[in-house]
Symmetry: C2
């Protein structure tokens, strides 16, 4: 096994969607799904654009897929050589995580096709593919290379008013329906052969068709360069796209690939977790880090990452709490500039959060559950479709999942703690924390005759239980948010006048007084034998096994949650909830309590979310359950290799890559196995290396300094990284 590569042999139509995710190449600006060059819409080809949203009619708003600039179709003697239709003798797709490239090799008998493509990490608007055909029979070849507009859309169409351009450079430009944002794709193809050229242009796109006679043994190559720009990038999208693909063609495929690989190499140098002793684990970690690194918004300074990355339109391309809880940790410890971009997105979208709170009659900042551009709430009140009636079902993710604001405040505080960079707090981060705390002050329920404060009618991380009171996780993150707000005074104790002005400008004087009083009154959850009750009344719910609950399903695609779902009225939960709290705030639990909670909740957890296993693994490390931690780690780290995970919620497709698991894999390795944490500016390690590994090592950046952490069964060390490591210029040999 190669620790850096993963391949699939054979073409299985049932795996088209999955392979599209496994062989995704992305660069933060866009994600090119891992379909073959000749794929049609049925195979879900897509070039998903980060941060460009559109709503068609009354369907869900979702990210826009650009026309596909690496579309290639080959035929011989009129017979299409299409992996999806022609039953090839041999077919292999391979991803190289280190270089961020996708290779393909298909033996059609009469011809062998090989290609290698990438979404450039050096020039984020560039896609490139080197496509080579080796003929083993004589015949008449037709090669169509162009820009396909026949791309996948879940709730489309999104592009209108197409215009096409033919010639040496092909182009397609269009505008989105809702906001009329221009989207332009230009393509240049460089061949090492001649032929009769014609053009096809129809509703499927624009293609250059090259026809010629070929002989057995002949090898033809075409290098394809596509530039992708939108109106959100500034400038003139079509011109820019044309320019880029022409320049790239001029520089040549190899030079473009070199720049791309160098960029990836720098990323790996800053973030690679390397392990010894288990190749499968090593590869799974590389896969996880590849997928998460590939979708980081390095081209922007205030952009975040959707829950399914750039693998398509699932979950509306929206930003969830996944970002702060699961993506953020790897970035803040390895590439803080990416972490900063993720948080600046929240700072810049504060107005949307203030508006949402006001919409529900509250003050402060209530961040969107599914945040789209500008912090706009992408979540509707009807987020699940009933599989029996085909009617939308009222769900409460939008209005009751209030922990999101606290999650953001938690990350803002962690960013300051780990980087020591106060600038982000000054630049709006502190205000966000205050507004989140204010939201909770305003959302708190009191009683006339009791001191305690309840947070009633909420949904915690375990979404199967809707509209509960005093969810342990939610109350915990709220307490933390209030503490973070109060801590600001100390963080800025050297700038008291600045802090006083902030309080004044945000009209926070009264709320400041309320804060310290309120935080002590927040209802603490009930405990039974050391087990924290997930919410008021949870222990009174039917206590039955996962299998029992699963056995009650009448349709495999049924949604498990809510009053009609099989889990909603039982103790079966979707994902870590109390355990997520324990993972985030280990100091609030004794080891014994963590073990008790783990033993209680784990068997009752469906792990129906990629946010679950990681939290269980982290707490398993803490209590020495290393076999379980290992199993959960492998499950988490392998998810975008092996597939798995739910593809449907009711009638809604929810497949895609799993950035939260990707980030979770890093978290288990670094925060769990190595036991990394930052306390008062100091790096601390509490290693729990599973027996399956002999060594674990990774770089990190903390308070401006780069370090290398190494853990073996003999001990753990943190040493400062040397300069060579930081240069990031060398490309390892393949």
């Amino acid at each position: 096994m190669n620790e850096w590569k993963f391949s699939v042999n054979g073409y299985d139509p049932a795996c088209t969607a999955l392979d599209g995710n496994r062989f995704l190449c992305a660069n933060g600006y866009m994600g090119l799904r891992g379909t073959v060059e000749e794929a049609d819409k049925g195979q879900f080809p897509a070039v998903t654009l980060a941060g460009v949203y559109d709503r068609f009619e009354d369907k869900w708003r979702e990210p826009v897929n650009a026309p596909h600039g690496l579309s290639i179709r080959l035929s011989l003697d009129g017979q299409p050589l299409d992996a999806g239709r022609a039953a090839p003798l041999k077919h292999t797709m391979e991803i190289d995580y280190r270089t961020g490239t996708i290779s393909r090799e298909t033996d059609f008998g009469a011809a062998l096709v090989r290609s290698r493509r990438f979404a450039s990490m050096a020039f984020c608007h560039l896609l490139a593919d080197r496509y080579e055909v080796l003929f083993s029979a004589d015949g008449e070849m037709a090669l169509s290379v162009g820009i396909s507009t026949d791309v996948w859309d879940i709730n489309g169409p999104h592009l209108f008013d197409y215009s096409f351009e033919r010639g040496d450079t092909l182009s397609v430009s269009a505008v989105t329906g809702e906001k009329r944002i221009p989207v332009a794709v230009a393509q240049r193809a460089v061949t090492d052969f001649e032929g009769e050229v014609s053009f096809v242009q129809d509703e499927g796109g624009v293609f250059r068709v090259i026809r010629r006679a070929v002989r057995a043994g002949e090898r033809l190559t075409v290098c394809v360069f596509a530039g992708v720009y939108t109106g959100l990038d500034g400038g003139r999208p079509l011109e820019n796209a044309r320019q880029l693909c022409q320049s790239a063609a001029q520089i040549g495929y190899e030079a473009c690939l070199y720049a791309h690989r160098a960029a990836w190499e720098a990323i790996w140098q800053r973030s690679e977790v390397s392990v010894s002793g288990n190749e499968e684990a090593a590869r799974a970690l590389h896969a996880s880090q590849y997928h998460l690194n590939s979708i980081a918004p390095r081209h922007a300074d205030n952009m975040s990452i959707p829950a399914r990355g750039l693998s398509g339109q699932t979950y509306k391309g929206a930003v969830f709490w996944d970002t702060e809880m699961f993506f953020f940790p790897m970035f803040v410890y390895t590439q803080p500039e990416v972490a900063r971009s993720l948080l600046r997105y929240r700072i810049d979208t504060l107005p949307g959060a203030l508006e949402k709170a006001a919409e529900y009659g509250y003050r402060g900042a209530f961040y969107a559950w599914e945040s789209q551009e500008g912090g706009r709430e992408g979540c509707t009140n009807f987020n699940v479709v009933d599989v029996f009636t085909h009617r939308p079902v009222r769900t409460y993710f939008r209005d009751k999942q209030i922990h999101i604001s606290g999650d953001i405040a938690y990350a803002l505080y962690a960013y300051w703690e780990i980087t020591g960079d106060r600038f982000l707090l000054e630049e709006g981060g502190a205000r966000v924390i205050l507004e989140c705390a204010r939201f909770y002050l305003s959302r708190a329920s009191c009683r006339l005759d009791r001191e305690e404060i309840d947070f009633a009618d909420v949904i915690g991380p375990d979404e199967y239980h809707e509209r509960v009171t005093n969810n342990a996780y939610t109350n915990g993150i709220i307490l933390n948010c209030m503490e973070n707000a109060l801590a600001l005074e100390d963080i800025f104790k050297d700038r008291p006048e600045w802090f006083t002005r902030l309080i004044k400008e945000t009209h926070f004087e009264k709320d400041w007084l309320l804060l310290s009083e309120a935080k002590n009154k927040i209802r603490r959850p009930r405990k039974r034998n050391g087990v924290t009750e997930q919410f008021d009344g949870y222990f009174d719910l039917e206590d039955c096994s996962l299998d029992t609950v699963r056995g009650r399903l009448r349709d495999p695609r049924e949604y498990w949650g809510g009053d009609h779902g099989v889990a909603g009225c039982t103790q079966v939960i979707k994902q870590a909830d109390v355990i997520a709290l324990a993972a985030l705030f280990p100091d609030s639990f004794t080891d014994g309590e963590i073990a008790a909670n783990w033993d209680y909740y784990e068997p009752r957890t469906e792990h129906g979310s990629s946010l679950s296993a990681c939290m269980y693994a982290l707490t398993a490390c803490r209590t020495g359950k290393l076999d379980q931690a290992w199993e959960l780690f492998m499950r988490t780290a392998s998810i975008d290799i092996l597939g798995g995970g739910k593809e449907w919620a009711g009638e809604i497709y929810i497949g895609g890559t799993h950035p939260a698991s990707n980030g979770g894999a890093w978290m288990i390795a670094a925060l769990g196995f190595a036991g990394l944490s930052m306390k008062n500016g100091e790096i601390s390690l509490d290693p729990h290396l599973p027996k399956q590994l002999s060594r674990l090592s990774f770089p990190l950046t903390a308070r401006g300094t780069r370090w290398i952490v190494t853990v073996t069964h003999e001990g753990a060390s943190v040493r400062q990284a040397d300069e060579r490591c930081r240069a990031g210029s060398a490309i390892r040999e393949e």
Copy 2:
């Protein structure tokens, strides 16, 4: 048309359940469903016992049906003469509301069967039937007269350990499963003919079989008397039952009937609403008053009435708010001793209500939504079965329908106001009002940063909208409850030391201070163009027509409410809610506001409950919408003649009689058409007589005096009733 009678010709198997309700005879102790004597279980025969509950395994607790003591089966030459199977030439069932008797006439060709039966209003443990056969052919007759144990049960069986007795007196005794309450039925049959007697005793019951040869033209008669007792009646049930049926047989059928009719005559003299100008209306009123009067617990002084009366086990035989809001008004104005019994049931079940509040973490009295014996909550958390998955659905009737406590306090106050009888308040009523108010103080939600008090997460009368905040009706009845509590001080101003002791004994000192403060802070609903918003956010829901909502059903038996129901997320409501508030508290609305609310809500109301039309009719009278009031009145008053109303909620049978409509018919006539109200001890009339009626007249008792109200289009009068009217001794000629 006879204003006092209703009959159905022909035997329609599809109407068995309906006719069982229409021809119900009941006397408050038990209800004998209107099936033919020879009915088997498929036709839903039942003798439903008031106040005797049982739970079988984990099914719903429900009232117990006694063995059927008036079971008679006839055959000629071995052919059963069974109306349900033998396709009779002619078949008629008739109810005489005045005398409370059910007559039956079936022409089988070879024999004509006539019977007349009743559940004695004079001796509540007695059922009697006079059954006569006129043969028109010669043959061998077999007549089985006995006690059938093959009775209907929804969630049975409930009776076990049967023992039987044969002889001149037959008997069946058994015990309930859960609490082992003895239930005994004894039967005596008196024939005017001889024959060969044998006995049959098997799991279907015990029967005396009389065989003889009959000739065409021969007429044979049997009078059957059944005594029914349970262990809750004290004494020895079986002995008592034997004794009673033997005494009745000795006295004879006619004498028993005379006593029964006299008792009914007294009831009619005290309560009959008589109208002129429309026979249909007159009959519908008689039907309504018959059904409601027939189920009044006159044999007990602390018993209430289930929502479906004694017509079966629907709604678990439980007592709902229907009692206080819809049954109570007729009784308090006509037979206050019945009203007192209804309220004493609530007083005596206060411990159950205190316990229920504590179960949910509140103080004070939270009365059961579906109250069974001892105030025990009959409502489960899963009150609807999904028609698609056949799984129970979590519903919130049990835990969120908090207005029930205020409804009870409202009735207690009204009892005092109308009767002037303070004794009930002294005997526990005042404490109930205080504990209900205390419950609301404890249930109120406040915010840290706002003065207002919310009542969050409730269900109002419109049950389709679950878990709403600040339901207008609920907040209104809570305000009223707090005012009623505060008013007690004035009511008892001549006994200050008694009142002080009450406050002290109930530890109400602090709550008393909270009360007057809290009541002013209760959130008042938003208004738009004079229309009160049903709850926070109601106006933002989808505003579509009833037909649109109905058109979304995929199964006619689907439950409309909750997040999965077709109405739950629209403005379509089940029943009067804001309008119920306006009907109860007309002084809090201007005429213009009532009209605006009526015009807004009526088209959005499904009237899917028998609690709805009455409230709309009352408010229609107030605003002069007399045509609509008339239509709603006729719909309400006719429901137990014409049938209609839903028979299914999900997969649960909810058919039966409609005491709330029965009471509603009286309310529309008396409180609407005559505009009766009591203010400060004075009778007030505000007549709105519809053009369809020329005259309306009814007796009432207020503050100990009997009055006759008469309304014509010329005017209205209240005069004191003369002695003759009060005697109640004469029986009108049939």
